[in-house]
Amino acid sequence: MVTLRSVPAGEPEPGPGDRLGRLLDRCARGDHAAFEQVYDAMAGPVLGIATTVVRNRALAEEVAQDVLVEVWRTSSRYQADRGSARGWIMTIAHRRAVDRVRREQADSDRDERVARRDDERPYDHVADEVEANVEREQVRRCLDSLTGLQRESVALAYYDGYTYREVAQLLHTPLGTVKTRLRDGLVRLRDCMGVGR
């Protein structure tokens, strides 16, 4: 079972992040034992975000595997001064998942996804599946501090992988408003979670 640790506010690079960063450093030198530890720490979150964005479990697993191999291969490119190792890995995972879902979009029925979204609130749904832990509670609390429209915009973009233009259409909202909401929402989350330097 994957264990997430609590992240005290005001610490952009908590202990586990430092440890992961050092492990990535060893991966870059070809240390397979280090990668196994990276895998054990990050396979759960990587598969989680891939599943959330892509929805299809088999596709999500493909994406997650590709991401983890990519992490190994590009481990020398991680720059500790630009953020935590976990953040770096999750950024790769999210981008890959979004790329995948946009590619699938050409042949699959986007409308179906939109329809399903209505009875499947991303972050509640996600929260149900996740082991109770302090970080999840923090994220939930921070999401709750957003306005409904900010939360919805951020969730559609991040958890569902829609472009901000698509978000604007889904919410029948002008583009400029959506951009503002995404920014205000994310900045509020950042401050709430204590990310920053």
């Binding site: 952009p12 291969r73 590009t74 976990r86 999750m90 950024t91 996740v130 472009t163 951009k179 990310v195």
Partner: protein, 247 residues
Amino acid sequence: MSRPADAGIHTLAAPYALHALPEDEARRFEAHLERCADCRVEVDELRETAARLGAVTAVAPPRRMREEVLARVAEVRPLPPRTAGGPAPVLRRWWPRVATGLVAALVAGIVVLGIRLDDVQDDLDRSQQVGAQMRQLVEADDMQMIRVGEDGASRGTVLVARSLDVAVFIGDGMAPAPEGHTYQLWLMHEDGPVVSAGVLGNPPDGHVGPVTARGLAGVDRMGITVEPDGGSPQPTSDPVMMIDLPA
């Protein structure tokens, strides 16, 4: 602080960090990031924030997945670190988005053919001749990359786009040809004829190209042979490298 012209683009940091920009806008924003240090900090922080949103979605992966990933990793060598004075700035500007697009278009091919995007980028980095033509090639919808000799001393990379009728060859780690000899690149037609695509020389550092070849109709392979200086009208020796081109 920011000029009015830039005011609009600053608001894209959040959608960019969320991967919520369409390709063309992501590209423009990346160009902006190059010269906006504040924006880079903001993007880093917002990405870190988004990562927290992602981390709470964690699920327990199947045991089988661990074995599969470790088996794949066992066959992959991590990329070398970037070294100082590395990639040309012009490359930096366009590569990230190109890579994203390529990932979207070619994930399957990458896995099957063992193509390593970043390795190719490294090859491109080393070459100082990346220009508009290369950019056009790399952005072509049907662009494919083929790598050969991954395990040997000499490695070849071909970027080919049939829609543009262009293939570009980059060679690395080529052993010096015997004195008075040169490498030569050939286009081999499926029905037999072999046409020279140019003399590659005998570079002391073993690095060749990028060399552009045109006229790919009916060509299914590229080959490299050692020829007497100045090249030959037809190959006179067995190829030292053969590259199958995709149809």
